[in-house]
Point group: C2
């Protein structure tokens, strides 16, 4: 059965002035691989992505965004028309509280940058879902990984969470573990992100079938 | 006469934890275009560059770096063996005072990020130059541009400074104005960065000939 799959990918950038920003190492490879794989499997794909340097997968509807707030707005606009969310983006957790209109000048003094939490895109979309919609989150943890991923799944009411090793970020391959709502962990050994993408899209198909 | 030209390019990244960083929009295009042009003109080029997504110019010795501190170390290692410095990199002005060893966890609270000024790569290399070495700086100003660029030339004891319009950042083309030590401004109209690179390498050649 063809699904409508909303995929987020890449980092977000949170500007503090017209040229400077906070971001992270995410390359967008996982999300782009998911989109390519989902298109190949016959699904309809919307790919909301932050600034990346990747060839976009043919056949996916692309929605480029910059900040976490923009990503949330873009996703909210289309979420209700989708069956599955694959939240692979590495959304910045913090953004400068104030965005300066002109370039911050360098001085010899140190500086306190006031940051505030960005909107939680995954939690918001999960909370707004309608019956039958499947939400799969992603986690990158460097300590106490399984416990933290399980906490995230529960707190954000996810159908499944994909736990990445820290070495996965910006790398072409990764090793992942997947936790489903029933408490079962599945490990998928070190592989190219395109191979992992195939397994994750397969999981989304099974979860969507169960939800129907 | 073949010169040995040290060129810096791109942004730097200043990490606050293993995956998050502060950076800026610089694409590295200007510095890479300068390197390509300098090689074509028969000069020996060392290109010290931050994280960029560009094809490296054939024939230049590449030195990839990440942070401002690394860029300074890499440049200092080789500066004395060069005749000219073209400081096209957009070095981050501030870096987190503390780099966390593990991923900062998101919380609902806001956060004060303590930043301190990065080393001033251009000022340091200019101060350490030996007789005959030519130093050309770059400035990107969004207000009071000429006065600020002139101040930078004087303060850092530069032979010339290239003033970019803010629209130049990450763009394939730009419009520049060049100030030399004699107080003369020259404007080079909107053009592809490769065309501007040719003019700037020509200026470096003239200034190096005067210094000899």
């Amino acid at each position: 059965v063809a699904l409508r799959i909303l995929i987020t990918a890449g980092p977000t950038r949170e500007y503090l002035d017209p040229v400077r920003y906070l971001s992270n190492d995410s390359s967008g490879r996982m999300g782009f691989a998911l989109a390519g794989q989902a298109v190949r499997r016959g699904h309809r794909v919307t790919l909301v992505h932050g600034p990346v340097d990747l060839e976009p997968p043919a056949g996916a509807a692309l929605v480029p965004v910059v900040s976490a707030a923009e990503m949330l707005r873009a996703c909210r606009r289309v979420w209700r028309r989708h069956d599955v969310l694959l939240m692979a983006a590495a959304v910045a957790d913090y953004a400068p509280a104030r965005v300066r209109g002109t370039k911050l000048k360098k001085s010899a003094r140190s500086l306190l940058l006031h940051l505030r939490p960005t909107p939680d895109v995954l939690a918001a979309l999960s909370a707004e879902r309608r019956a039958g919609q499947v939400v799969i989150g992603f986690a990158l943890e460097d300590r106490d990984s399984r416990r933290r991923a399980a906490g995230k799944l529960k707190r954000k009411d996810l159908d499944a969470i994909v736990l990445n090793a820290p070495a996965a970020i910006a790398a072409p391959s990764s090793s992942i573990q997947v936790l489903t709502r029933d408490g079962r962990w599945t490990r998928i050994g070190w592989a190219d992100k395109r191979v992992l993408a195939k397994a994750i899209v397969g999981l989304a198909e099974r979860l969507a079938a169960l939800r129907r």
